[in-house]
């Protein structure tokens, strides 16, 4: 288990009901963490439509997470 700081924006923030939280997780990657959180909170966005950033830098969804990382899941952007 590692302890992470997770931030939520836009539709994820609303579906989670808060903007950030600290949590302990067995997830080793952003992809695994997103699936855990999605199951727990009922996020409607599938994992393949969400990008991840760790410590304010875009990362691949199979990057290894480390103790204390700040993780942000990035829904599809405004576009248009």
């Amino acid at each position: 288990m590692i302890t992470l700081h997770v931030q939520y924006f836009a539709i994820l923030r609303e579906q989670r009901g808060l903007g950030e939280e600290k949590l302990a997780t067995p997830a080793a990657t952003p992809a695994a963490l997103y699936e855990e959180l999605r199951a727990r909170h009922g996020f409607t966005l599938p994992g393949d439509r969400v990008r991840a950033a760790v410590n304010d830098v875009f990362v691949g969804s199979h990057t290894n997470l480390r103790e204390g990382d700040r993780v942000v899941f990035i829904p599809p952007v405004a576009g248009g």
């Binding site: 923030r13 966005l45 942000v72 952007v77 405004a78 248009g80």
Partner: protein, 150 residues
């Protein structure tokens, strides 16, 4: 320089910062809040940004433009928070010796900004419904993600 702003943008001041006697062309793009999207009447918008990453990604886009095109200067600013109809949501300004580079770079910057900046738009519709644009879970359009008024 790329910035986020929680207060209304001042295009005259933004453009004044680009003044340079080496420049023969200045092209600006402004994104305004429209009264309709995908056929629905829009009342107002909210923009929410993941600020640290939006700022670094915005600066990266401007640097890419400087490398690709023969520019004298460029800058861009994006509003965050609640915006009313007709308000200025995003401003891009580019100067160059010649207009071809200024047009191409301005277009590049706004296209990349729309595709890459972690900034989300929530539309508020007549009747109270809302939608996070492009966060639909089925279909291609934001419309499928509409949440009826609580």
């Amino acid at each position: 320089m790329f910035t986020l702003s929680a207060i209304p943008l001042d295009p005259a001041a933004l453009q004044a910062a680009l003044a340079d006697v080496r420049a023969g062309a200045c092209v600006t793009f402004e994104g305004w809040v429209r009264d309709r999207n995908e056929g629905q009447a829009v009342c107002s918008l909210e923009y929410e940004a993941y600020a640290p990453l939006a700022e670094t990604e915005g600066a990266r886009i401007l640097n890419e433009a400087r490398l690709r095109f023969a520019l004298v200067g460029c800058r861009a600013t994006h509003r965050v928070g609640r915006l009313q109809l007709g308000e200025l949501a995003v401003w891009v300004g580019v100067t160059a010796e010649h207009r071809g580079a200024a047009f191409d770079a301005c277009r590049y910057i706004i296209d990349e900004a729309k595709a890459r900046l972690p900034i989300w738009k929530k539309e508020h519709y007549a009747g109270g419904a809302t939608a996070w644009i492009n966060c639909a879970t089925r279909g291609d359009h934001g419309g499928a993600g509409v949440v009826p008024p609580g």
